[in-house]
C-alpha cells in the first residue's frame, strides 16, 4: 500500500508518516497541492491520499478537484485531514470527490479507524 501525505506542516507529515509506516505503508509526501500532483505523477499513483485543506500554492480542496479530473487516479482514495470542522466543509469535500474526512487534532486510533473504513487497513 502506498500513501500520499499532503500537508504544509512537516511535523504533521512526520507524525502521519510514522503511523502509516507502522502499518506497513510506503509513503510519499508533499507540502502543497501542486507538489502533490507532481509527486503523484512521479510515483505513478498511490492507494490513498491524506490531504490537508489549508496550504499555500494549491490548497487541498483544489487538489481534490484537480486529481479527480485525472482518470488515472480514479481508484485512489482521498481523505481530507484538516482543522476545518464545519459539516458544510465535509460536504464540500465529499462533493469534490474526497472519500473520507478526519478532523485535526486526531489520535493514531482515529486515523486507523478511518483507514479501516476505506478498506485500506
Amino acid at each position: 500500500m502506498k500513501a500520499l501525505i499532503v500537508d504544509d506542516s512537516s511535523t504533521l507529515r512526520m507524525f502521519v508518516r510514522k503511523m502509516l509506516k507502522g502499518q506497513g505503508f510506503e509513503t510519499i509526501e508533499a507540502a502543497d497541492g501542486k507538489e502533490a500532483l507532481e509527486r503523484l505523477a512521479e510515483a505513478g499513483g498511490a492507494n490513498v491520499a491524506l490531504v490537508d485543506w489549508n496550504m499555500p500554492v494549491m490548497n487541498g480542496y483544489d487538489f481534490v478537484c484537480a486529481v479527480r479530473a485525472l482518470p488515472e487516479h480514479n481508484d485512489m482514495f482521498i481523505m481530507m485531514v484538516t482543522t476545518e470542522s464545519e459539516l458544510d466543509k465535509v460536504a464540500q469535500a465529499l462533493e469534490a470527490g474526497a472519500n473520507e474526512y478526519l478532523m485535526k487534532p486526531f489520535t493514531k486510533e482515529d486515523l486507523e479507524n478511518k483507514l479501516a473504513l476505506l478498506g485500506v487497513l
Partner: protein
C-alpha cells in the same frame, strides 16, 4: 487548588463501594485512575480536597454524589462503528436474514446494553436507515442502556463534539445524519427518534425487556468477576429471541462461562447464539 493523594483506606472504600453499586472490579494499581476520576467529580462540585469528597461520600447523604462517583469510575470509551466488523455483519448478514420472510410480525428489537453516550445505538440506527430496505411497515425498536445517568442524558441529547464525531464516523453519514450546532454536531431527529434510552444497572434486577433479535453487550463484562459475567449471560440468554444474535467485545467470550451459547465466526468478528 485541589490536591489529591488517595490513601489505601480511601481506595479500598471506593473499590468496595463501586463494586457493590456496579460490580465493576477496580484492581490494585488502579489508584491513579480512581484519583484522577475523583478529581473530575471534585472539580465539578467545587470541592477542594479528597477528604471533603470522601466525607460527603461516606455520609451517604448526597445521593447524586454517590451516582457521580460510580459514573466517574465506569469507563466511557466509545466510538462510532467501534471495531467495524460487528456492524458489517449486522448489515450484510443479520438484517437480510431477519427480513427474509421468516419474521411475519415484522418486528425487530435491538439492544445496546452498555451504550455510553449513544454512539453504538445511533450507529445501529444509521445502518438500519440506510440498509434495511423493508423498514417501512416494520416495527423497529433500538434500546440503548447504560449504568451512568450522565451518559444516558448525553445520549438523549445527541450532541457530539468535534473529537467525538471524529472517532470512526464515516464522512458520508456525518453529512447525512448530523447538523451543525455551534461548534458541535447534533444527530438529526430521524435517527434520534429510532432509539430509546434508559438507565439500567446490568448487575441489578433487570426491568421487563422485550425479546431481542440482537444484543450488543460489548466491552462491559471485562470489568466483572466470572460469577457476575455468568449471571449477566444467563439473563441475556433469557432476553434473546431464539435464533437471535449476541455480540460481545473483542476481549470477551461466553466460553467457559455459559455453554448454552454457540460461537459463530462471521466475517472478521465473533458472535453468539443460543444452541437449539
Amino acid at each position: 487548588m485541589v490536591t489529591f493523594s488517595i490513601s489505601p483506606a480511601d481506595f479500598d472504600y471506593i473499590r468496595d463501594f463501586v463494586k457493590r453499586r456496579s460490580a465493576i472490579v477496580l484492581d490494585d494499581g488502579k489508584e491513579y485512575l480512581v484519583e484522577s476520576r475523583l478529581l473530575q467529580v471534585a472539580r465539578k462540585r467545587s470541592l477542594t480536597s479528597l477528604e471533603e469528597l470522601m466525607s460527603k461520600l461516606r455520609s451517604g447523604m448526597d445521593k447524586s454524589l454517590l451516582e457521580s462517583v460510580v459514573d466517574a469510575m465506569t469507563t466511557n470509551e466509545t466510538s462510532w462503528f467501534r471495531d467495524l466488523h460487528p456492524f458489517q455483519v449486522l448489515k450484510e448478514r443479520i438484517l437480510p436474514e431477519m427480513c427474509n420472510g421468516s419474521n411475519p410480525k415484522k418486528e425487530l428489537n435491538i439492544w445496546s446494553a452498555a451504550c455510553s453516550s449513544g454512539q453504538e445505538p445511533y450507529t445501529i440506527a444509521m445502518i438500519i436507515k440506510d440498509y434495511f430496505p423493508m423498514r417501512e411497515g416494520w416495527d423497529v425498536k433500538i434500546l440503548g442502556c447504560d449504568l451512568s445517568a450522565e451518559m444516558i442524558s448525553r445520549a438523549r441529547a445527541g450532541l457530539y463534539s468535534k473529537l467525538e464525531i471524529n472517532r470512526g464516523l464515516p464522512a458520508m453519514l456525518m453529512v447525512k445524519y448530523f447538523q451543525q450546532d455551534g461548534r458541535n454536531a447534533r444527530i438529526k431527529d430521524d435517527i434520534m427518534k429510532m432509539v430509546t434510552f434508559r438507565q439500567m444497572n446490568l448487575v441489578e434486577q433487570w426491568p421487563f425487556l422485550p425479546k431481542m433479535d440482537v444484543i450488543f453487550l460489548r466491552n462491559v463484562m471485562i470489568y466483572f468477576t466470572p460469577q457476575v459475567k455468568k449471571e449477566i449471560l444467563r439473563k441475556a440468554r433469557a432476553v434473546l429471541k431464539p435464533g437471535g444474535y449476541l455480540f460481545l467485545g473483542a476481549a470477551e467470550t461466553t466460553i467457559n462461562l455459559d455453554d448454552s451459547f454457540e460461537v459463530l465466526r462471521l466475517n472478521k468478528t465473533t458472535c453468539y447464539r443460543v444452541r437449539t
